[in-house]
Point group: D2
Chain length 141, copies 4
């Protein structure tokens, strides 16, 4: 593992450990490296909407978390400015969703990331594109 | 209250009663009428990210819920296809956020909605635009 | 007319006069005031796609122009960072389209604007939401 | 070249030949295959905004065109429903921009595409994500 990837993993682990949402949503970091993160979540009953499918808010939340780990992966603190999500298929109770974030490009303080959310059998649930902005400072010392 | 607004309120109440997320997030419907919904949520510790501010996923989830009530308000079942959110300011533990969804336009099966998320003192936390699609069928009989 | 609205009009006129695209697209500023702009364009043959309807790129271009005038209206130079557009209905050769941009909110250097593009009989062609960022400096001296 | 890729190229060529915008913008198809298209445009004086950089509307228009060729590449007529663009860097008079569209996923009638717009020396000008919908019928007989 390169130093850059090792740092990315430590940043993601640190971010997760500080989040109230991490344990609340049962998030697991599957992989984190420079400009990349993959995060897993199992759909629970308290994540369902009135149609008994996963609430779009939870799908976004999972994607947004992977995006956050990817855009902070160089230990330069960054925040989400804007994000767009397209919902393509439903998921249901017990499904294990995985959000995979990849860096598309960076320029100045801005970064753009693509996140795919899939079920464990590879069906795409949502596609997400996020714009981050570095704000100065580091995530971990 | 008009019949259309009364129906919208009953649809929103029914949707909330069927959601696992409603009680999980402590959502309260402040108002629901034809093409409009306003939903409130208090920021709890399990909604915070690693910077001790509200996780973007929860802000989106609140906006998306108001959007869902507004786009289903005529009792024609509709789902979110796409949504975009811009984050403008942070909110913190104990803040009460309100998401107000308004219909911008409808054409065929599509609808476009704008949602503002604000703190109770009127500071804008996020702006959201969502695209819905009616899928046939009603929400309540 | 207030001073702020007068300034906004002069800024929009100045921006249009400097644009290569203004005359190329036949743009006309219908109204410009603080945080607001309305711009008109007639659909020509060289703006049509292969289905003989207005190319989405031209609809976006019109909306983006109204957005630019609105987000620069205080004579603080601003650029578009991100924009989302939803296409709702087709328009055709000879249609006169009007894009109306309104400010939704501002925070720090960021601004969020909503733009509706309509035909002259009021049919909505597209809804647009844009995020601007002030970059320092003025548009006119 | 596979049959699918050959069809995609013929569809793109046909679409371009029917567009009023193609010659107006000086578009050149560099490559078109199944789920993919790359389109080139040289920035002219009538494509500049008031800061003497390429108007965002023209950058979107180029990206949107590559998106259209990619989402119609199987000769199933499709239209853009929604698109999001993030502007990352300026380009100027004489720059040759290339928009490369790739399919991210398809589900039912929906398709999601990512488009990168770059200068010929590889600098990213914009990132774009588009949602298409098939409408029945073919592009070419």
């Amino acid at each position: 593992m390169s130093e850059a990837d090792d740092l990315a993993r430590r940043v993601a682990d640190t971010m997760l450990s500080r989040e109230g949402t991490g344990p609340a949503w049962g998030l697991v970091i599957e992989e984190a490296r420079e400009g990349y993160a993959r995060v897993r979540m199992e759909v629970r009953a308290d994540m369902l909407n009135g149609h008994a499918i996963t609430h779009g808010g939870m799908i976004f939340a999972l994607a947004d978390t992977a995006f956050a780990y990817a855009c902070n992966s160089r230990n330069e603190a960054a925040v989400a400015q804007n994000a767009t999500i397209t919902f393509l298929a439903a998921s249901k109770l017990g499904d294990v969703l995985s959000a995979e974030a990849r860096e598309l490009s960076r320029a100045g303080k801005s970064g753009v990331y693509h996140v795919s959310v899939k079920t464990c059998d590879g069906r795409v649930v949502a596609e997400f594109m996020g714009l981050s902005r570095t704000i100065g400072g580091a995530v971990i010392n």
